[in-house]
């Protein structure tokens, strides 16, 4: 594992996102966007990890990422997503949602569209207008879904001025994260530990399904869907646990894995290699999880000594489905712990790692210590 390349950037980084590469191309990731928070002036910035270093005579800075351009952003950047290669959607703590346009020819960013009051507190008794932070964005070009502390869900289209659909009071608590599940369906995670599935085809303001674990209500801060199996979802909780859910089954997570010591801020499946998963946390750690199916089912059964019957039935059903290679390694329950390998990617942790993103063999993460870390050899 090659060491991470760090750069201090004089602003606390809240989000880091790779710019997508054209589909089907063999290009590797080379540009990423970051958003800052808690500054008097916050910025959305674009960086390149291109080989500028080689041009440098001293050569010592090879692989150091360079700032391409940046633009002022009103309020903290709460979330950041690429809509396509040129457009970035940013969520603000002022409740505003902005689409920034990246002009590659002259390396500038400009505001392409803005929904200024996408999230705000309304209703009887509350002040006429008070903004609510927008906490999450999910993009599925041309659709943009945003969620906020006001418990509202907005559906925007990049080419429409007004919101296509708004669900007020979709949640009584704060919505922390959102992701697309299947095309018209989205999944939201809230601060009382619930996952809700919403279907935009259905009228009314009720979720089509609620997954609500009983017992301790651990707030969920992030959610990511398995890239190939749309029913497999990973979430990260306030106590740092990683939960894997099968949204088709029941209301409880399939597995709960004790992970970080504080809030898990982001979880991401590797987009093309989903046996790999990445998490980062307030405790300043960044983890790489590998779940392998290579271990023969039988031997793991012997290791377990037939601990319980549910496991037995599970593994049998696995074998019955052997011709379905898509059975996710993340969904196997009891033996899961034995087959998951975890590596820590950051050497000495201090302040929170707020965000991470993976693309190909590249990983980028941003921290409250005002540093951006990049590695280009994730799998070597």
């Amino acid at each position: 594992m090659k060491a991470m390349c760090a750069k201090f950037v004089s602003q606390k980084i809240s989000k880091t996102r790779w710019r997508p590469v054209p589909p089907g191309s063999l290009q590797t990731a080379e540009t990423f966007a970051t958003g800052s928070w808690d500054n008097e002036e916050n910025y959305v910035s674009l960086w390149s990890i291109g080989d500028f270093g080689n041009l440098d005579s001293d050569g010592g800075f090879e692989g150091d990422h360079q700032l391409l351009c940046d633009i002022r952003h009103d309020g903290d950047v709460m979330d950041l997503q690429f809509l396509d290669q040129e457009r970035i959607v940013a969520a603000s703590s002022t409740g505003c949602v902005t689409i920034f346009l990246y002009h590659q020819n002259n390396q500038t960013l400009s505001v392409s569209h803005q929904w200024t009051t996408a999230h705000c507190h309304t209703g009887p008794g509350s002040p006429s207008y008070s903004s609510a932070p927008c906490t999450g964005v999910a993009c599925n070009n041309p659709e943009i879904v945003t969620v906020g502390e006001d418990g509202r869900i907005n559906l925007f289209r990049a080419d429409h001025k007004e919101a296509v659909r708004t669900i007020d009071n979709a949640d009584s608590s704060t919505l922390h994260a959102v992701t697309f599940l299947r095309t018209p369906e989205i999944l939201t995670a809230n601060s009382i530990g619930q996952l809700k599935i919403w279907d935009f085809r259905q009228p009314g303001n009720e979720p089509s399904h609620i997954l609500s674990p009983t017992g301790d209500r651990v707030p969920l801060h992030c959610v990511d869907r398995h890239p190939n199996q749309q029913h497999v979802v990973a979430t990260g909780g306030q106590d740092g646990t990683l939960s894997i859910w099968d949204v088709r089954l029941g209301t409880m997570p399939v597995s709960l894995l004790k992970a970080h010591e504080a809030e898990m801020w982001e979880v991401h499946f590797h987009p093309s290699n989903p046996d790999h998963l990445f998490t980062c946390s307030e405790d300043g750690s960044l983890w790489h999880w590998v779940s392998s199916t290579d271990v023969p089912e039988k031997s793991s059964l012997f290791h377990q000594g037939g601990r319980n019957s549910t496991f037995l039935s599970h593994s049998i059903s696995n074998q019955a489905n052997v011709h379905q290679p898509l059975k996710s390694s993340w969904l196997s329950t009891d033996s899961a712990k034995d087959r998951i390998e975890i590596t820590s990617l950051l050497p000495n942790r201090t302040l929170s790692v707020n965000s991470l993103d993976v693309l190909g063999s590249c990983l980028v993460c941003g921290t409250d210590a005002e540093a951006i870390y990049v590695t280009r050899q994730l799998f070597s």
Binding site: S10, S130, P133, D216, D368, A369
Partner: protein, 658 residues
């Protein structure tokens, strides 16, 4: 009290009319509020808004410099790492580790310096440029002092290697030589270059004799007449005994050899070997440590500490650490030649040569505009166990005092406050109280930021002091103001704040009474054990459960739950009428739901309420009678109860009979 060490600096606040001499101010943790006042006894009645502005004075200007922020952030990581070493390492490895940490700090300063000087070069207007150049000079001085402290206090270099370290120190900070060297060697005919001899002299002054020899050989090639002399001088340079790191020879051996070499140089000078060439002769004089010859090169030496090191190299190569201050003082005096206006930097370095750590830190504190340098250096020296004996007459020891000052400065910054937390953590005496005072002043504009602040408090077990509760309460209040009751309830549950949970539950019930339906069911239906936080919350949860049972047509379960809410006194008395009204449709059902005994209980509840006996002193019951609608409601209830009782008695009687 000690005396003031220097005159306080006067800062003029732009926009404030200081001639009026009427100012009021208030101290904040890192900032100060200042405004003009109007204190005029004669015109008491007249209210003139003559002080339109309140000024915020920030004292830590450096925190707002983008480049210096990198210094603060990067050194924070090193600082935290250093505190961890404390427990793990002992003995030799510990010292090596401390030196490594010190080098890391210095490399951060240097990186910052390099970036700053690049910015200074790139700056378009001269004002900005000079501003940055000024910063570069300050950073450079910091690094110089730190490096010297590292050699003297952290590495505690013994005689012999001490001089080698000091030479490295001078080479690192008087680095124009390298630029010259590249320039001269790059030219077509180096030995004819106008700076050739200057360069050779500078190399000799820095003890870089190998390089000097190479230069001489170039001169020898170009000028066969002086080739012989150059060879002799080159040989002298080659044979100068020095202590190499791998060498095992003792100091006495070295001293003997050096003495011998010195005599040989002396002889060559006496014999006039180099007399034909002024340049070579003066080089030889330098190598003999001749003070006059050295002082002739003032331009090259550029400062007194370079003079000191060169002088030591060629006259006292085995200088002991304890003798340093003597040579330092005399070097300073000779170099400045009675010019008594010594710079602050000179005083700091001199204090270091005198091994007076406290004086070093004191002088640095006076001169530098922020606490970064002294706080980190003092902390490192403290880890070297050099400051144990020193206690201040105020607060805690010096290390802690400086760290607290630095951390408070960080906390006053809108973004760097997170770094301050770790510094407070490592102040055993006053760190925690300081953190408590500062942490509650962090503005919480988003829940995410609040969560980060909460995590800081929870990790430090500040729950007892009510910090966690007060933060949650702020958020809960905010949510209530924004009519986000579900959110407010979540926060009060997190804070385990029973009183606030009751308040929010009441709001829920009030909303229900007004609108006839519940909001935020996703939360109320999933309260779980949190329901036990307050009686009112329990009631809210149970009452909602009743509605669910009713909706599912589980009337019998619903009825007994409803009754138990009243009989167990969980339901607030003001709400009993609503509960009784809820019982009405159950009483009117075709089948009998309330048993006779339950009906009696219901009747008792109704009578309790209507007779207005203030059982728990709730005034609401009194108001009931006045209302016509209420009276009708009571009448209807009485009727329904009586009918239900009749039906129940018949049913129970017939069931028992059959």
């Amino acid at each position: 009290m000690e005396e003031v060490d220097g005159e306080p600096i006067i800062t003029l606040i732009p926009g404030v009319n200081s001639k009026k001499k009427q100012l009021c101010f208030d101290w904040g943790p890192g900032e100060m509020l200042v405004c003009e006042t109007l204190f005029n006894k004669k015109e008491k009645s007249e209210v003139v808004p003559s002080c339109p502005s309140i000024y915020i004075i920030r004292k830590n200007e450096d925190f707002y410099c983008r480049i210096l922020r990198k210094l603060f952030n990067e050194s924070h990581g090193i600082f935290v790492g250093l505190q961890r070493i404390e427990e793990e390492l002992t003995g030799k490895s510990r010292k090596a580790e401390l030196v490594r940490v010190s080098k890391n700090y210095r490399s951060v300063i240097r990186a910052c310096m390099e970036e700053m000087s690049q910015v200074a070069i790139a700056a378009k207007d001269p004002a900005t440029s000079s501003l940055f150049n000024n910063q570069v000079a300050i950073l450079s001085a910091m690094e110089l002092v730190w490096n010297l402290c590292e050699i003297l206090f952290i590495e505690v270099t013994p005689a012999g290697p001490l001089l080698l370290h000091l030479l490295d120190w001078v080479r690192l900070h008087v680095c124009e030589v390298d630029t010259w060297s590249a320039e001269v060697l790059g030219s077509e005919n180096p030995s004819k270059h106008e700076s050739f001899w200057n360069l050779v002299t500078a190399l000799v002054l820095q003890g870089r004799l190998d390089e000097a020899r190479q230069m001489l050989s170039k001169e020898a090639d170009a000028n066969p007449a002086s080739a012989g002399m150059c060879r002799v001088l080159g040989d002298l340079m080659r044979t100068m005994p020095i202590l190499s790191p791998g060498n095992t020879q003792t100091l006495t051996e070295l001293e003997l050899k050096w003495q011998h070499w010195h005599e040989e140089c002396e002889r060559h000078l006496q014999d006039g070997t180099f007399a034909p060439s002024g340049h070579l002769e003066s080089l030889c004089k330098i190598m003999l440590g001749d003070e006059k010859a050295l002082l002739e090169q003032k331009q090259q030496l550029s400062n007194w500490y370079h003079f000191l090191v060169t002088r030591l190299l060629y006259s006292h190569p085995t200088v002991k650490p304890t003798e340093l201050h003597f040579y330092a003082q005399s070097s300073l005096d000779r170099f400045l030649e009675g010019d008594s206006s010594s710079e602050p930097l000179d005083n700091i370095l001199m204090a270091a040569f005198e091994f007076d750590i406290h004086q070093v830190i004191k002088e640095c504190s006076i001169v530098l505009s922020n606490w970064w340098f002294v706080a980190h250096l003092t902390d490192l020296l403290d880890h070297c166990k050099l400051l144990q004996s020193h206690n201040l007459y105020f607060g805690s020891n010096m290390r802690e005092f400086l760290l607290l000052e630095y951390a408070s400065g960080l906390f006053a910054h809108h973004s760097l406050w997170q770094l301050g937390v770790d510094y407070f953590d490592h102040c055993p005496e006053l760190g925690r109280v300081s953190l408590e005072l500062h942490i509650e002043r962090i503005p919480l504009n988003t829940e995410q930021k609040a969560l980060k602040v909460l995590r800081i408090c929870e990790q430090r077990k500040m729950t007892e002091q009510g910090k966690v509760r007060s933060i949650c309460k702020i958020l809960a209040m905010k949510a209530v103001r924004n009519n986000r009751l579900g959110s407010a309830l979540s926060w009060s549950i997190r804070a385990k704040d029973a009183a606030f949970a009751t308040l929010v539950s009441d709001r829920f019930l009030k909303d229900y009474c007004e609108r006839g339906c519940f909001s935020d069911l996703d939360l109320i239906d999933n309260l779980g054990p949190a329901m036990m936080l307050s009686d009112r919350l329990t009631f809210l949860g149970k009452y909602r459960e009743f509605h669910r049972l009713y909706g599912e047509q589980r009337f019998v379960d619903g009825a007994s739950l409803l009754l138990s809410l009243m009989t167990s006194q969980i339901a607030p008395r003001s709400f009993w009428m609503t509960l009784l009204t809820d019982a009405l449709p159950l009483l009117e059902q075709k089948q009998v739901i309330f048993s006779a005994e339950q009906t009696y209980e219901l009747m008792r509840c109704l009578e309790d309420l209507t007779t207005g006996r203030p059982v728990h002193g709730e005034p609401d019951a009194q108001g009931l009678q006045d209302d016509d609608i209420e009276t009708t409601k009571v009448e209807m209830l009485r009727l329904a109860l009586a009918r239900n009782l009749a039906r129940a008695i018949i049913k129970e009687g017939s069931l028992e009979g059959s």
